[in-house]
C-alpha cells in the first residue's frame, strides 16, 4: 500500500492514511490520502479556521467594502493584512480592519446592540463606502446574535447602504475550507441577482477564484480585456461588491481556484445556466491553452493567439535562462490548495525542477486527486501535516527549496532550506507569462543565494577564510552551463520592471472586435484547431 507513516506520528494511528507515496504503477484507485476531515486531537495541526477561510481568504479581497468582524478583536487582527491581495483603489481593504471588539459582558448580555452601533459608526467613519460585509465568529455564533436581523434593520434605516452577512464561525468546518464553502453559498444566496451592472461587450465572463495576490487578477483581466472580453466581476481579488452582485449576467465562469470557489460556479451553473470552465493560469503552455479555451468559447481565437504569440516571444527566452539553471532541483510544493495541482506538473515541464512532495493543510481529496495525478512517481503527498511531519519530510527528501507559506517557511529556513512564499508571494505577481518568469527568478535567487555559504558556519568554532569572498549566484549556477553557438542569444535573466501591475490600471482597451460566431462558424473553428491552421 502506498500509505506513508511518519515516525513522529506512529503514536497517532489516525494519521495512518493521511500521507501517500506515489509508487510505480499507482493510480488514484490505490494512491490517495484522506482529506478534509476533522483535525485529529494531538496532531497540532497548522490549519486555519472556517472564519479565517471565509473572511481572510475570500471576503476581504473585495475592495470597496467595510469588512466588519463581529467578535473579539483577536479574530480580526489575525485575519488582517498578512496576504497581499492588493487592489486598484489604493488598497482600501488592506489598510483598515474593523471589529466589534466583543468582550465577556457581551457574551453574557448579548452583542446585538454593540453590533448595530458599530455598523453605523463604520459607515459614518467612511462616508464614501456604502457596502459592508459582516463576519460571524465563534463567540457571536455561540451566543446566538442574529446578525442578519441587525443588518436588515440598518439597511432599512440607511437605504443607501448594502450589507452582506457571512455566518461562518471558526468552528464551522474542519478547516478554512469550510469557510470557503459557506461564504460562496451565502454570497450566491444573498447577493447574486440583486444588481444589474452595465454590460459593455458581447463576451462577458466572471473570473472566479483568484485573489489578486500581488496583482495576479489584474494580469489575467488584462489578457481578457485585450481579447475584447468584459470581465463582469472578479471573485474576489480586486473585486467590487456591486459587480459581484451581478455575476448572474455573465456568459461564462472562468474558474481558477476550484478549491476555494467551485461552489459559487456550481450554483451559478445550476441556478442561471452559466457554464464553468476550469483553467490553469500558471505556466506558458497551460496558460496559453486556458486563454485559447476562453477565446474559443466566444469565437475570439485570433485575438487570443496574438496575445499568446506576443507574450511567449517576449518572455520565453527568460524562462529558458532560468530553466537551464533550475534543472534537477528538488522542490517541496507545499501550498494552500490549488497550486499543488496547478503547479505539480507544469513546474517540472517548464522549469526542469523535480516535485518531490505536495501537501495541503485544507485541501479535499479532490485536490489530492489532481495533485497526485499530475506529480511524478516517488512524490510524497501529505494531508494536513503538522510541524514535526514537515520536519521529518524535509530530512527524508532533502529538497533544495520549499514552496509554502510564511509559518512553515520560517521552519524550513531553520533547517537551512530556503523557502519561497507562495501564499503571499515574494516578488509576484506569479500569474501570467511574465509572472511565471518572476517565479523562476525568485526560485533561482533563493536556491543560489550566497547566504547559504555563510548560514552553516558556526563562528564560535569554524574558521572563516579571510583571503577570499563568497561565491555569487552566477558563479555557483553556471558551473555546468555551457554557452556556445547553439545557445540562443536571446536567453537572458529577467528584464522586467519591479512593478508590472500599476501600469495596467487605467489602461484602455479596444471594443468587442467581432460578432459571436454562429454554430457553423464554431464547427469550422474546431476543425481549424485540429488541423493546426489557427
Amino acid at each position: 500500500m502506498p500509505y506513508h507513516t511518519f515516525k513522529c506520528s506512529e503514536c497517532i494511528p489516525e494519521r495512518a492514511m493521511h500521507a501517500v507515496i506515489k509508487g510505480p504503477g499507482e493510480d488514484l484507485t490505490s494512491c490517495l490520502p484522506l482529506g478534509y476531515l476533522n483535525t485529529i486531537p494531538g496532531t497540532i495541526s497548522e490549519r486555519g479556521c472556517a472564519f479565517c477561510g471565509a473572511k481572510h481568504v475570500i471576503g476581504a479581497p473585495m475592495k470597496d467594502v467595510i469588512h466588519l468582524c463581529h467578535g473579539p478583536v483577536g479574530c480580526t487582527y489575525d485575519t488582517w493584512h498578512t496576504k497581499r491581495y492588493i487592489s486598484d483603489n489604493d488598497n482600501f481593504q488592506l489598510k483598515y480592519a474593523w471589529a466589534t471588539d466583543m468582550k465577556e459582558k457581551h457574551v453574557v448580555f448579548g452583542a446585538e446592540k454593540l453590533l448595530k452601533q458599530n455598523i453605523i459608526d463604520c459607515f459614518k467613519a467612511f462616508p464614501n463606502i456604502k457596502r459592508m460585509s459582516i463576519y460571524q465568529t465563534c463567540a457571536s455564533a455561540l451566543i446566538g446574535d442574529d446578525i442578519n436581523a441587525i443588518a436588515k434593520k440598518v439597511m432599512d434605516e440607511m437605504p443607501d447602504v448594502d450589507i452582506f452577512v457571512c455566518n461562518a464561525p471558526g468552528f464551522g468546518g474542519p478547516s478554512q475550507s469550510g469557510g470557503h464553502h459557506k461564504i460562496n453559498i451565502a454570497w450566491v444566496d444573498q447577493k447574486v441577482g440583486t444588481f444589474e451592472p452595465e454590460i459593455t461587450s458581447k463576451y462577458v465572463i466572471n473570473y472566479v477564484g483568484d485573489y489578486n495576490i500581488q496583482g495576479d487578477v489584474e494580469i489575467m483581466v488584462d489578457y481578457f480585456r485585450r481579447m475584447g472580453i468584459q470581465v463582469l466581476s472578479t471573485f474576489t481579488g480586486n473585486g467590487s461588491y456591486d459587480d459581484l452582485r451581478g455575476m448572474h449576467l455573465a456568459h461564462l465562469n472562468v474558474l481558477e481556484c476550484a478549491r476555494s470557489s467551485e461552489y459559487i460556479c456550481n450554483e451559478l451553473r445550476k441556478r442561471y445556466g452559466i457554464p464553468r470552465l476550469d483553467i490553469d493560469g500558471f505556466g506558458f503552455e497551460p496558460l496559453s491553452a486556458s486563454l485559447m479555451k476562453v477565446a474559443m468559447f466566444f469565437g475570439l481565437e485570433k485575438e487570443a493567439q496574438s496575445i499568446i504569440n506576443e507574450e511567449t516571444a517576449r518572455w520565453k527566452p527568460e524562462l529558458d535562462w532560468y530553466a537551464k539553471r533550475l534543472k534537477g532541483k528538488r522542490i517541496c510544493l507545499w501550498p494552500g490548495g490549488s497550486k499543488l495541482w496547478h503547479w505539480a506538473h507544469v513546474i517540472e515541464e517548464e522549469m526542469g525542477v523535480k516535485v518531490v512532495s505536495v501537501y495541503s493543510k485544507f485541501g479535499h481529496q479532490g485536490d489530492f486527486e489532481k495533485g497526485v495525478a499530475r506529480c511524478s512517481e516517488g512524490a510524497l503527498a501529505i494531508d494536513d501535516p503538522n510541524e514535526l511531519e514537515g520536519l521529518e519530510a524535509m530530512e527524508m527528501l532533502k529538497p533544495d527549496i520549499i514552496l509554502t507559506g510564511v509559518r512553515p517557511g520560517e521552519v524550513s529556513k531553520k533547517m537551512r532550506i530556503p523557502y519561497l512564499n507562495i501564499h503571499a508571494y515574494h516578488n509576484g505577481p506569479y500569474k501570467g507569462f511574465e509572472g511565471w518568469v518572476r517565479l523562476a527568478r525568485d526560485l533561482y535567487n533563493a536556491i543560489y543565494s550566497p547566504i547559504h555559504q555563510l548560514s552553516g558556519v558556526d563562528i564560535s568554532k569554524d574558521e572563516m577564510p579571510t583571503d577570499k569572498g563568497f561565491l555569487t549566484r552566477r558563479m555557483i549556477s553556471d558551473v555546468n552551463i555551457i554557452e556556445d553557438e547553439t545557445t540562443p542569444s536571446s536567453e537572458r535573466p529577467y528584464t522586467g520592471e519591479c512593478d508590472i501591475v500599476s501600469k495596467l490600471r487605467g489602461k484602455t482597451y479596444p471594443g468587442s472586435p467581432i460578432q459571436l460566431g454562429s454554430q457553423q462558424q464554431l464547427q469550422l473553428d474546431s476543425q481549424q484547431q485540429l488541423d493546426g491552421t489557427v
Binding site: N266, G273, P275, W341, Q365, G366, R374
Partner: protein
C-alpha cells in the same frame, strides 16, 4: 481488448491526468456529465463528425474537447493510423477507464455527498 489498445488507452489517460482538470469536478454525478460531454465531443472531433454546440454547456465541453483532440493528435502519432471504427473503440475504452479512475474506483469519499 488487445494489449496494444490497452496500452494506447493508458497513454491517453496519462495525457488527461497531466493536462486536464475537467475530470475532477467534485461530485460523482457531475463527473459523469463531464466525462460524457467532453469525451463524446472529443470522439466526434477525431472522427470528423458534427458536434452539437447548441447550448452554452455544449460550447464549454467543446472547447475542452478541441484541446484534448489536438493534444492527442500532436502527442500520439499512432492515432493517425487508426480508422474511425478503431478510434470509436479506443474512445469508448478511454471513457470507461476515466469513469473507473474518477468515479467507480475512486477513493474520494466526497463524491457521493448530495450537496455541492
Amino acid at each position: 481488448m488487445d494489449d496494444i489498445m490497452k496500452d494506447r488507452i493508458e497513454q491517453l489517460v496519462d495525457y488527461i491526468m497531466k493536462w486536464c482538470l475537467w475530470q475532477f469536478h467534485s461530485r460523482a454525478w457531475d463527473r459523469e456529465k463531464q466525462n460524457e460531454g467532453i469525451l463524446t465531443k472529443t470522439m466526434q472531433l477525431l472522427c470528423e463528425e458534427p458536434v452539437d454546440l447548441e447550448t452554452p454547456a455544449d460550447r464549454c465541453y467543446w472547447v475542452d474537447a478541441v484541446f484534448l483532440a489536438k493534444g492527442f493528435k500532436n502527442t500520439y502519432p499512432w492515432l493517425a493510423t487508426m480508422d474511425k471504427k478503431e478510434i470509436k473503440l479506443l474512445m469508448q475504452g478511454l471513457k470507461d477507464r476515466i469513469d473507473y479512475l474518477t468515479i467507480k474506483g475512486s477513493l474520494n469519499k466526497e463524491l457521493t455527498n448530495p450537496l455541492y
